[in-house]
Amino acid sequence: MTEFRRESYALEALGVVCALGGDRDAVWRGLAAGRDDALALRGDLVAGASLRFGVVTSALPEVPRAVARHDTRASRLALAAFAQIEAAVSEAVTRCGAARVGVVVGTSTGGIGETEAAFRARGADGALPRGRNLERMEFGGVAEVVAHAAGAAGPRFAMSTACSSGAKALASAKQLIAGGWCDAVIAGGADALCGMTANGFRTLQALAADRTNPMSANRDGLTLGEGAALFLVTREASALQLLGTGEAMDAHHISAPQPEGLGAETAMRSALADARLAPAQIAYLNLHGTGTPLNDAMESRAVARVFGAALPPCSSTKPLVGHTLAAAGALEAAFCWLALTQREAGRMLLPPHLWDGARDPALPALPLVARGESCAAPRPTVVMSTSFGFGGSNCALILGDAR
């Protein structure tokens, strides 16, 4: 058996697309400014309701003909992120060999949106309008498209654990390298807005009437978004590192989180143990912070228990870009990566937590980041991002300077 190497791995390159923009610079500018105008009103996604969504408006690449059977918006979002790391990936493929480069992409919608359109366009005989609908709907299609674009020939798969998918894809990438299967992995998440998730969260009464308002006493649900973030994870010593990952299941309920956040707590503690770090060493925490009553209650309790008196500045970036579901874990790791990369003179500008400022007296108070707030960030600085999903799936990531 291959020996498992307990190391950290380089997050060598990043591609990102979300409602804030179609590249790293635009996304960082939006994060740094705390742009509150990126969520758009859409009346076409939920029947009878005009709600805010984090819609990607930048141009998306076309899906190559050879993998046209997986031509979906999720694939195009992933390709938009991939285009930004193409040079680094190409170099890695040359350096490591195609067979040693893997792909793990978190997705929860695959080609559902395209299948919705096919169902609406059915003929009188009930048949769908064009062939291969089942293949186009596949969850694994996005990873296949990315592998094709990269010329990667190692293991490639979709991680689909709902809202923790993007974070778990990065954890799997680390394992693929540690377990000897790959020397480089393209990993992250991609999800597109579609009627299924919009109406599904609506029927669970989980959608906010206006912009999501995480941790507020007035929070009334989440705002959905779409996007993609892909990292090139390698063994290289340079750059920022994925220092630790932690995972746990709630074993509580199919859609509701464990009320005390026990699974979330275990995931955060496991990530700290994996990175051999103490809670007080975390300089910033990117919350899951969906803005639903249940998530924020359990999450704030879990965070308070893990960090105790050493609570770091925290923010949920979902009011800026929406909840991008399976992309969220990777996208929020991307926001952490951007903040770390943009440090100046030992200070790190933090992504702000946009809300109405009405603290919920029932929840432990977290130090939520205000617009323009920064923290001391001498090297080495490390930060954490958490993601919790349907099915009780919890994942925490720690990234930062090599230590």
């Binding site: 058996m1 029947a47 169902f119 969850f139 798969f157 689909s160 377990g179 299941m249």
Partner: protein
Amino acid sequence: MRNVVAWTPADGATAGAPEVRFLPPLVRRRCDDLTRAMLHVANECASAEQLAACACVFASRHASLSALVELLEALAAGRALSPNTFSHSVHNAPAGVFSVWAKNRSACSSIAAGRESFASALVEAFCLLAREPERDVLLVCGDEFPLAPLTSDTDALAPTHAVALLLGASGGGTPFELSLEAGDAAREPGRTPDELAFAAWWSTGESELILDHSPRRWLLRR
């Protein structure tokens, strides 16, 4: 390898599900065929103690097609979605139901990779074994027979099925060798899903199994 269990419908039927009488009635009523088949093979594969302690990898090419088709029909007709069906339509719903039932709080993945879903789940399982050799890994892989109108155009109309493997590394070494090679298919790719081909191979005692997915293939050797 501790155990391998496969389930397919009796008498060559394409759809159906095992009874899963071990599940509480309320949970059982809410489960679709895929979740039932997956929990059935998991329950047959290992003891309650093992199922509570193992790391888990679930895999499915298409997830719960019955739940997805119900939701797609409702969306097309402008009807409200069922909250229960939506909750059970996510790819990791069987993994979620399993963890609640088995009281398992370990890491649990839910993987899809087209025709290579089973092989990809094996890779993930082998990584978990390498990371934590003292903890067994439960791998459950399955799919549902597609409902109309999705039946018309698929290239792989396999019956509803599920396969569970309990993998252990104690004593050193993985239960078999697994490698990925470049290579065109030696024959037409079969319509039997890899996980069912694997279960058949494991029971025969043959030394080698090739899972052809031109232009590459997975080689299993014991």
